[in-house]
Amino acid sequence: MSDIDNLRSTWLTRIADAKDESTLEDARVAALGKKGEVSLKMRELGKMTPEERQVAGPALNALKNELNSALVARKTALADAALEERLRTEWMDISAPSRPGQQGTIHPVSQVTEEVIALFADLGYSVAEGPQIESDWLNFDALNIPSHHPARAEMDTFYMKRAEGDNRPPHVLRTHTSPVQIRHMQAHGAPCRIIAPGRVYRADYDQTHTPMFHQVEGLALGRDISMANLKWTLETFFSAFFGKDVKTRFRASHFPFTEPSAEVDIQCSWENGQVKVGEGNDWLEVLGSGMVHPKVLEAGKIDPTQYQGFAFGMGIDRMAMLKYGIPDLRAFFDSDLRWLRHYGFSALTPPSVSAGV
């Protein structure tokens, strides 16, 4: 059957030599199309004797299958080659800058406030709030600061203007977050554990003071809460906040709304003007605290013979400066975009106890 061998070799060569899809298609039609050479051969089978057909039939069928396979293989090879050729030309400069996106940021005050909330939430404290324009009574009198008390003058209070004929004492821009204590006690009573973060105001502006800043107040009331509990609470908080063991030192002080009162220092070291918390032999004053004064409990409608507890107030901005090494308080409120981007935090990393603060 050298006939068939010839056919095979002729057509396989033509398929292999096809340089593109259309020559390949021409080859297919010429071989296997209706009038293709192989197809015509198959039609001749009918004229053959049964014996001849028994030999030629399978041979032709095999040839047809072989050519079909070769066609598919060639077609795939041609497509691969074409794709390869296309990819070779499709070069882009991967070093060129991408389309600019916008990277928003969270202000350090917000981030640190959330850190403080997360840590105190774990200790069972909820978050209380109060207005920034506050009555003179809640900001001062209720906190055992009567009108003649020198602490009033020392607080550099901002007062709201009173209309002519309005003889009420002027409202103040709260000088501390402590009025929230009174509001909370009056509304919810004891026992309680709250923190109250927020804006406060004092008429002072220099290198280290701004007329507005942020405080967080803490208040815990119960039957037998002591100053020793306060010390544990603050040390537990500071160690979690700064991510290392931080010792505190309590120093006697005086605040009208707490008694006994203590200024609290945290352990630190100073190196080249840079402070490092939680190491070294120096102390840095960070907050005021004490046992809630019986008069303050009374102002909050709580019986001081039944309940006692501690309160503290610390600067959020200052905590942010200490933790993140931010040098200048005034820049917090200047909204310099370069500062916001440098010291700001990603939108997608809210602090949590599980992920760390």
Binding site: H107, A121, K161, A203, P256, A262, S335, L340, G344, P350
Partner: protein
């Protein structure tokens, strides 16, 4: 409050070092703010003797001196006119730092001759301004001795902060008492011996009836004749200089000395300048006085003054008058010690803006019982330092009685402080501070039997008498504080608080969660969070509907911070202006905080406000940069509303944005005209210009509190009904009047068949050729989602017809051919 270590030792017998004292003071609540130790600055300078002084070979004004020093004979070149052989001088050796010239001395050559040190003037040692020559010391000065030791300048100055409750610590003696109670030494006797009067006091003092009950209940006076005034002795001057006071004359220095030594302000009149009797009374409206600071003050009737027959001679408790003040010529002096009411003194001092050492003490409360001792102590000092002869002391009024007692339960101290301070220690502390402890509790026989000790009870309350110098103590809590601070809070050990069992409840309120979410969402939209001041200038506030008197701060620190902000946009716009001045033209800022509608507490509302200025992106190779427009602000507002749970698809766009927005390019998104959830738009060009900003400027505010909270308290979501049937999308273009709002058309189309039409979106807005003038073409795509069976062509056509009809009815729009 400042004092020196040696001054303290006048009252405290102690072996404690300076460091120990400083540490104890701070721990006791007398926080040390500064310690100035002269030895740190002047300790290296030693005394030398100028053996010879020869003319410098190359300079007319210089001398070559051979000086005997601690380091042997040294050659020192000196230009001082008084540098000569035979004098004792102060020598700075090579390596010594000289503070007055901010220089470290080195061996050097001056005009060809070597010099091994320097001889110092007082100015070079910062002792005075004297610089006419070098310091010359008396013969007694020993070569090699430290100059500060010889000159008795080696007395460290300590400055402490005084909390308002501690007027007793405004005298050195009170500080010594605290340290003694802490165990740092023994308090020396402070008894003031009486000085006998030799003659009747020629000046009588009267207390007007209305001042005698409270404003000035007692006034002691004494005449001393034949004194000689002049500079006070060196020891007194050095102490006064060390604490920052300027020595004036002996009589005046004595009053300042007693003020600091005992916390007892005094006044001395030149008795010959007092006309007739003295009367303590309230000032008459408009009376004036020229005080010792040479300023004239106009007085009002709430102010307590001391007057003679000619007029006001002194402002009670605050400052004396210049006319009757003592001078070097004074020969007869009248010493005053009185008690003035703290509250009135504070008000007067504040009104007159006088800050004096006397006011500072009287307004905190001086020890009334010490008033007569004040006169005696001053008399003693006057007699010792100025000579003279004292009259009898006269007294007007009575020393106010401050005697009072409070019960202290020692168990309460332990419970509040959380530290085991034994009852006996509590009593010891209180008594060391001058409190008087009577213990009516159960007395144990063994303790009572101990010889010489008072019986000590084991339990029960202690009745505590309050000393006259502690006006701040008003109850048990104050006594607890006294015990705690002396026992030392530094020793306090932390004690854990119990934790609730199980997993903690959420602690944030829904609104607090919303506030935090708002911040995170806006930052995720690419905006940078700012914290701007709550007060802004009136002109800016007025642009945003604020600036009223009700929101005015009465005492702003500057006119730029005079009014509470009515809106967060002005603060953000001013921040943007500052950034533009720094060369940043494109920016997106936001703030979440309170805006103030009025000046009463809680007349405020939470705003979440954003601002976009300039372009959406920096210049880039991808062509994505375009100017911001109102749709950026609207997208931000909608994104935030959606995150906060607002039903965004139900919100109505209203053309009712406030006047600070562009009237044609701004809107409100609300659940009705009375319930706005957000405003957005381009800022009004006039507002942009007024705030000096370069546009375009768009902004938005979302009002988080206005968004309804979900009523259902369940976490379960509504079931999701998904169809497997193919949806069909059909496009339409309608020609409508140019001022027809797209929202109206979209709602009409969507409402045409609520069953089948799942969504309608706008994909093109066209005005121009082939659309009539005053009209526009809006192209929409409607997606039809069958639920039961695949849509037939007829069904699709029927819905299309409904859409066309509904749009036509709602907007007058016709299908574009």
């Amino acid at each position: 409050m400042k004092f020196t270590l040696n001054w303290l030792k006048d009252h405290l017998e102690t072996e404690a070092t300076l460091d120990e004292i400083v540490e104890a003071l701070t721990d006791l609540g007398l926080e040390v703010e500064e310690v100035v130790n002269p030895a740190d600055r002047l300790g290296t300078f030693r005394i030398g003797y100028v053996k010879s002084a020869e003319q410098h070979p190359n300079a007319d004004r210089l001398r070559v001196c051979m000086v005997e020093t601690a380091a042997g004979m040294q050659q020192i070149i000196c230009g001082a006119p008084n540098a000569r052989a035979g004098i004792k001088v102060v020598v700075a050796q090579p390596g010594d730092y000289v503070p007055g010239i901010d220089t470290t001395i080195q061996v050097g050559e001056i005009r060809g001759v070597e010099s091994h040190g320097m001889m110092a003037s007082e100015r070079e040692l910062e002792l005075s301004d004297e610089h006419d020559g070098i310091i010359e010391l008396p013969e007694a000065a020993e070569v090699g001795q430290r100059y500060i030791d010889f000159a008795e300048l080696n007395d460290p100055m300590i400055e402490i902060a005084i909390t308002p409750n501690r007027p007793d610590a405004l005298g050195v003696r009170g500080i010594a008492r605290d340290l003694a109670a802490r165990g740092l030494g023994t308090l020396k006797s402070g008894d003031v011996p009486l000085v006998e009067g030799a003659y009747a006091n020629p000046i009588t003092t009267h207390l007007a009836a209305d001042v005698a009950d409270k404003a000035c209940p007692v006034f002691f006076g004494r005449h001393v004749r034949g004194v000689k005034n002049g500079p006070s002795p060196k020891w007194m001057q050095q102490r006064l200089i060390a604490i920052g006071l300027r020595p004036i004359s002996t009589l005046v220095d004595i009053t300042n000395y007693v003020t600091y030594d005992r916390g007892r302000p005094l006044h001395v009149f030149d008795a010959d300048k007092v006309h007739g009797d003295l009367t303590v009374r309230f000032a008459k409206e408009g009376e004036t006085i020229t005080a010792l600071d040479d300023k004239e003050y106009t007085l009002t009737p709430e102010m307590t003054i001391i007057a003679d027959e000619q007029g006001v001679e002194s402002i009670g408790g605050i400052m004396g008058g210049a006319a009757s003040g003592c001078t070097d010529e004074t020969v007869n002096v009248y010493i005053e010690a009185a008690y003035f009411d703290p509250v009135r003194t504070a008000h007067t001092g504040r009104a007159l803006k006088i800050n004096s050492d006397a006011r500072y003490r009287f307004e905190r409360g001086v020890d009334p019982a010490f008033t007569p001792d004040g006169v005696e102590l001053a008399t003693r000092l006057v007699l010792d330092l100025c000579g003279g002869e004292p009259s009898e002391v006269t007294k007007a009024g009575e020393v106010p009685d401050t005697a009072r007692r409070y019960d202290l339960d020692p168990a309460r101290v332990i419970s509040l402080v959380g530290m085991d301070i034994p009852r006996t220690e509590q009593v010891r502390i209180l008594e060391a501070l001058g409190f008087d402890c009577a213990q009516p509790g159960i007395v144990t026989s063994t303790l009572a039997a101990v010889a010489g000790t008072a019986p000590v009870a084991e339990s029960g309350v202690i009745s505590v008498g309050i000393p006259s110098w502690r006006p701040d103590v008003h109850g048990e809590a104050d006594l607890v504080e006294e015990v705690a601070r002396v026992a030392s809070l530094t020793k306090l050990e932390g004690k854990p608080m119990p934790r609730e069992a199980g997993i903690g409840e959420p602690v944030l309120s829904p609104m607090q969660v919303r506030t935090a979410t708002a911040r995170r969402s806006l930052a995720a939209l690419g905006l940078n969070e700012c914290v701007t001041y709550s007060f802004i200038q009136q002109s800016s506030a007025a642009l945003f509907g604020g600036g009223s008197d009700a929101t005015e701060v009465a005492n702003p620190i500057s006119s730029e911070m005079s009014h509470m902000r009515p809106d967060l946009l002005p603060g953000l716009m001013e921040a943007a202006t500052r950034n533009q001045a720094r060369g940043i033209a494109d920016l997106g800022l936001f703030e979440v905080g309170m805006a103030f509608e009025g000046g009463e507490p809680e007349e405020d509302a939470l705003h979440a406000t954003g601002l976009r200025v300039g372009h959406t992106a920096p210049r880039n190779a991808h062509g994505t940069r375009r100017p911001v427009d109102l749709y950026d602000a609207k997208a931000d507002a909608e994104a935030l509303l959606s995150t906060l749970g607002a039903p965004v698809e139900r919100l109505m766009p209203l053309r009712t944005a406030p006047a600070w927005f562009h009237p044609g390019r701004s809107g409100v998104l609300g659940l009705g005209p009375k319930n706005p959830l957000a405003v957005f738009g381009e800022l009004h060009p006039k507002v942009v210009e007024a705030l000096d900003l370069k546009g375009p400027v768009v902004g938005f505010t979302v009002f988080p509190a206005n968004i309804p909270f979900p009523k259902a308290k369940t976490a379960t979501r509504a079931p999701l009904a998904l169809s497997d049937l193919q949806s069909v999308e059909r496009d339409f273009a309608f020609v409508v009047d140019a001022d027809v709002e797209a929202d109206k058309l979209l709602r009409a189309a969507k409402g045409a068949d609520k069953q089948l039409i799942e969504a309608v979106s706008l994909f093109d807005v066209y005005q121009g050729p082939r659309v009539e003038e005053g009209k526009k073409s809006l192209a929409i795509a409607a997606r039809l989602q069958p639920k039961d069976a695949t849509l037939t062509d007829d069904q699709i056509e029927a819905v299309a017809a409904k859409i066309i009809k509904a749009v036509e009815k709602a907007t007058g729009g016709v299908l574009r051919g």
